[in-house]
Assembly symmetry: C2
């Protein structure tokens, strides 16, 4: 949580942490600065143990900057135009500006952690120049999880409330899909209604409308993929496909609050009308993997242990898994889950790599999303719920959306 | 343009350029990979002179990867899970993976340019490790403008068509605002209609709806700011404000095509009913600055020369300008314009810093947006058009939106 940042700075022996901001989504900057970050296009934040954060910002953004309550200064206070003139390079000027900020804040020695989202090549050369300009400091190599990722891993009440709000809208989106199918009728094996054939594109447009009405965005799009496409986990699906009776449709939605807010992430697999015995069996097995995982989640457990047990289950039932072959394309081909918050993929990881040391902490919020994929047989199944481990260790499933595979048309 | 990348690689003496991709918008990756980039969450592209691009991608994204037509490989082809296991650190594993990619592509010496959007601290340490692993290469410090920014500075026909499509939707959004005001009626000095008071928030919601219906997004939000707020250029405006007769409202819209596409960027200043003589005079002067700039744009001219002439004009008429004081808050407080494309702010710059060496090139697409700001008197005026310099040097204003300041209610 946010109040962990200060103790983490001390624990990790850091003189300061700096978050650089360019014109890209910057979840850590947003985490620290709060909602005013939506109106800060560039700048930086400096955090020092026991000290109010320092914000550097553009003069035209002084109103949003003021809302942060941070100690602050404008580029102009450091004569940034003059610096650019002298350095004749925006890259060298950026390093020089950092030097001047460090001077003002008396950061002359010790470990300094640098973060923030920007062009990596540009960042590399700015930081190399900064090391020349401020030889007393060392650019800290972050521990794993990174300081801010560690803080962000556990969610406070406001964050959980924000995620719940997005979850409710996702439930409406799934309800809308259900209604469209229920009101449709089959012509042969294809679904239609008074507006014509019901396509993947129609479902996607309806989902987008539900999110729009609720002030949400889909920065990473979504997945509504049928049959063979459902069998390739990140295939977003083909808008032109008409819904066909009995074909599995993976619906994976991960919208966020507009302006860089919180995500939810949920998947259901549905089909129009009757599913085959094979599809029902696979769906029940994936559901079993979700249930078994959620039932056994507890504070202190290794994230990867859950992936191991899901692989055990699937292998027992005759499916290949990614732990047997990382290039696997048929069977269980991915990790079990990931944290969500200001990014759609955060810590903790529930993946199976032995290097994954993440543990379930009180306050963690993460997905559980097993799946089985057989693209060669036009089959893909995934079910994804979001789990919150409360401060007292109790486990709550934040996902209130039916699991039902079959949806009967009119 | 895209076909400039290969000659630029040779010109700048680069053995290769690498674009890293994480889960952030990555305009250069999108530029090179095209629309399939929307479905590639991670990976990298390697460009070498005279060679087909090489794409590394996740196995679950093989369908989108295939659409690029690039030479390609999956993480699994490099045994990435094993690398993570061995390195016990995602950072070291990332560097090791780059080493293996370089090995496979026979990149062992020469200047290599690294770009892409990611966490700058993480990128710094990955690249330092990479230098140890591949000591024969040098990480090139990009020239200014950067290689990809130089290529992206001039737009091809498809790019201009995409920008034009967004421009048309912006025109509809402004038309919608105009209609709402025209159908409103004044009660005292405040505007209302049958739905109640007409607020800034209502205008913003209507604009958002127009963009939604057309498949556009507002990744950076927008500005609809009245009175004092209009006088602070990046103040987004207060949704609760009811529109008041005679107060200037700056409407600055910069939507983009969903999925990481092209931007447009346009500003008009309007007011409900009659404007004061002062407001009309300021508006006419800002309009004059636009006209004089657009009339004189020609290939080869220095971007900063236009800013200088606008400062001349405003100073002659008694306004202070940013070239006199970079901390200026009243008068003309910002640069004249910027390129637009896959980012809302690109090259060329039309700012006044003597370090700005950008020139107007055939094919450039950029804004012209002078403004005058007096927040202490509740005044802010900005007018912004987008100009395209065609391949033959002819100048076209892509903005087809009325300049009128006053909009009369019913």
């Amino acid at each position: 949580m946010k109040h962990d940042i200060d103790p983490l700075l001390r624990e990790r022996g850091l003189a300061a942490a700096v978050i650089l901001k360019g014109e890209f989504p910057n979840p850590t900057f947003r985490y620290v600065a709060g909602p005013p970050a939506a109106h800060l296009s560039t700048g930086l934040i400096v955090l020092r143990p026991g000290t109010k954060p320092f914000l550097l910002h553009g003069g035209m953004e002084r109103d949003a900057a003021g809302e942060t309550g941070f100690e602050r200064a404008e580029y102009g206070d450091f004569s940034y135009s003059k610096i650019i003139e002298q350095e004749q390079s925006s890259l060298l000027a950026h390093a020089k500006l950092l030097q001047k900020v460090f001077e003002r804040l008396h950061i002359a020695s010790g470990q300094v952690l640098i973060g923030g989202i920007m062009d990596v090549g540009r960042g590399y050369h700015i930081l190399n120049r900064l090391r020349e300009l401020v030889p007393g400091i060392t650019l800290a190599q972050d521990a794993d999880p990174g300081l801010f990722h560690q803080a962000r891993l556990t969610k406070d009440a406001d964050e959980v409330a924000a995620v719940r709000a997005v979850a409710r809208v996702c439930a409406r989106a799934f309800e809308r899909i259900r209604q469209i199918i229920q009101r449709g009728r089959l012509e042969g094996k294809k679904l239609k209604d008074s507006d014509g054939w019901i396509t993947i594109g129609r479902l996607r447009a309806e989902v987008r409308r539900v999110f729009f009405e609720a002030g949400l965005e889909e920065p990473h799009g979504n997945i509504i993929a049928m049959g063979r496409d459902a069998g390739v986990p990140h295939n977003a699906g083909n808008d032109a496909d008409v819904l066909v009776e009995g074909k599995p449709i993976v619906v994976d939605l991960y919208p966020a609050q507009s302006g860089g807010g919180y995500y939810f992430d949920v998947t259901r697999t549905i089909c129009v009308g009757k599913a085959s015995a094979e599809l029902k069996e696979l769906h029940a097995l994936v559901r079993e993997a979700v249930d078994r995982t959620v039932e056994t989640i507890h504070v202190g457990a290794a994230g990867r242990s859950y992936q191991e047990r899901v692989c055990d289950l699937f292998e027992e039932r005759g499916h290949k898994t990614i732990r047997q072959d990382e290039r696997l394309e048929e069977g269980y081909v991915h990790g079990l889950g990931h944290g969500i918050g200001l990014e759609v993929h955060e810590r903790p990881h529930l993946s199976g790599n032995v290097a994954n040391k993440d543990r379930i902490e009180a306050g963690a919020l993460f997905t559980v999303e097993p799946g089985l994929y057989y693209p060669s047989r036009d089959v893909g199944i995934r079910i994804e719920d979001v789990i919150w481990v409360k401060p007292d260790g109790a486990v709550e499933n934040l996902t209130d959306i039916p699991y039902e595979l079959e949806i009967a048309p009119a």
